[in-house]
Symmetry: C2
Subunit: 191 residues, 2 copies
């Protein structure tokens, strides 16, 4: 039977990552449909058959890639929840998210695609985070900041962040994310 199981499992995980990175890169700038499995294999430097050895189908590969991104976002959110002052948590999250996006542009571009593409959207579950309640989950932060319309401000902040990130990911000459996010916080959250 098998060779050293540790080395084996490591090797396997490594190849899996390689395929996922190759897929992410192509999905991010051509979309799911226009990315052929042949192209993914070529980008990963292996054969098409190997892709199917690691993933049952193209959809599953995309699913894994998207799940990875969702996990990353959760980690960023968890990180900013550790901030001591409750009134600084939202700002901390926004800033941390900006940094993470700047460091992982492909992941974010794929995430944007997932917003507009119903098939990808289904794969990733609810990315838009439409909590059922009438109040936006960020309303609390604005209530603390003394806003007279916390719910509306929460929604506006959410939409503005989305816009800033989207514009950054799509524009060929992006404004530094940090500046825009900082200014947004200044205009809405501070005071």
């Amino acid at each position: 039977m098998g060779r050293n199981p540790d080395t084996n499992a490591e090797q396997r995980a490594e190849t899996r990552q390689l395929l996922m990175r190759a897929g992410l890169e192509l999905f991010a700038d051509r979309g799911l449909e226009r990315t052929t499995v042949d192209a993914i294999a070529a980008n990963a430097g292996c054969s098409k058959g190997l892709v199917y050895h690691y993933f049952p189908n193209k959809r599953a590969l995309a699913e894994a890639v998207l799940a990875d991104w969702v996990e990353q976002v959760a980690a960023v959110a968890a990180g900013s929840d550790v901030v001591e002052a409750p009134d600084e948590r939202l700002a901390a999250f926004a800033t941390a998210m900006a940094a993470h996006i700047e460091a992982n542009p492909d992941s974010y571009r794929l995430n944007l695609r997932a917003l507009t593409d119903p098939e990808l959207r289904e794969l990733a579950g609810e990315l838009t985070a439409d909590r059922a309640g009438p109040d936006h989950p960020w309303a609390d932060a604005f209530a603390l900041a003394g806003s007279e319309s916390p719910d509306l401000d929460g929604r506006l902040f959410h939409a503005s962040l989305l816009g800033i990130f989207a514009h950054h990911a799509l524009s060929p000459h992006p404004t530094p994310l940090a500046d825009l996010v900082e200014r947004l916080i200044e205009l809405t959250l501070d005071r």
Copy 2:
């Protein structure tokens, strides 16, 4: 020879519109790739051959649909340029744009797709309006409003608008556009 040219041309333009509407509807929620010409024909209640009688290929149909949207946006912009007070023009444009998007959701959803899809983007020309200059075209409005960083505020306003519109188009329970846009203007442009 020839029959009444007026009736003929009218009929032709009407059929063309019908096909474009059918295309827009499908393109908006499935994207270019996943919309088959057969589906467009079925949605328009005609044969596939007829689609090709009016357009040389699927791409050309999409091009026509997108060009139509670009024209609509130009019309909205032209309309708000008529506003007398220069310091109210940007706010007028944002409000008018919100109303137009609310009235033409399919068109805007297709426009969003065009932002993320490189193929559609090419078709529509430069939708992102990345003027070459270092200053954002909306900086003037913020200079008039007494902003200490007009360029940054112009970019932030642009991105926020994009985010508001995008969120509205994608969310199943959208916040009324007018409220968000009004609040954005209040927080950034007024005072």
